[in-house]
Symmetry: C2
Subunit: 145 residues, 2 copies
């Protein structure tokens, strides 16, 4: 990994991920890169994203979507996906203590070695909660996302 050369495309992808909190898919990254590099290819985007994951500058967010989501923030945190609009959001839990022993608890009944876990929350995001409130008040209005 030390044999990595600088590339403007990679730099742009890193910068882009840093500005986003919504964990874009490779395709979203691609679309945005094309503004600056009209001829960039999806292959380049994928190659760089997995390279960044390999060297720890990004993580793949495990969520139950068809497509992989990428996160430029590698600090430990949890993720949430809205099952109405599909947005993937960060979740910062202040009371982490409750989660500390999760692996230990799970290992108690498991014949093997548990090394980690990934927790994924789902529900309705703030916007969708609002939308739904509106809809229940004005029932004859069409659904707008």
């Amino acid at each position: 990994m030390s044999n990595m050369k600088y590339s403007r495309q990679r730099k742009a992808i890193i910068d882009f991920l840093a500005t986003r909190t919504d964990h874009p898919t490779a395709d979203i990254v691609y679309i945005n890169m094309r503004k600056e590099f009209p001829k960039i290819s999806l292959g380049t985007v994928y190659r760089n994203l997995s390279l960044l994951v390999e060297i720890g500058e990004a993580i793949k967010v495990p969520c139950n979507d068809e497509a992989e989501h990428f996160d430029g923030c590698t600090l430990k945190h949890y993720h949430f996906q809205c099952n109405r609009c599909g947005a993937v959001l960060d979740l910062h839990i202040s009371d982490m203590d409750s989660l500390q022993d999760l692996n230990k608890i799970a290992n108690a009944d498991f014949d093997g070695n548990i090394e980690g876990n990934s927790i994924f929350f789902y529900g309705k995001c703030r916007n969708c909660v609002k939308e739904l409130e509106k809809k229940s008040k004005v029932k004859n209005e069409d659904q707008k996302i």
Copy 2:
């Protein structure tokens, strides 16, 4: 969903899922169905699997694999994936109390509505732990999975 007709293929898929604890992918189901129905198509397998998921007779196991894994056991339990051999196993946690308040804890700092979570554990399964022990004793032996 009440307009569902009986089919021998669907029955066989349900029975097959019930006998397996390792959460097969659609492809594995397909391969096994071909023993009884040599001309069954992957399309039929996929159609039935998603139908079963819809009516709650099976669940999609959320794991970070390329392919979807299906589980015939719809009772609440957790999953584990071995990051050496890729096996997906069930995890039965007896001390569930610790997990009860997870949504509540997460919701405390979240602007929206958390409805559920999925926890996925990873590490080394029993077999791989054994294999690795063997390897560290007999270092000149090749890796056998």
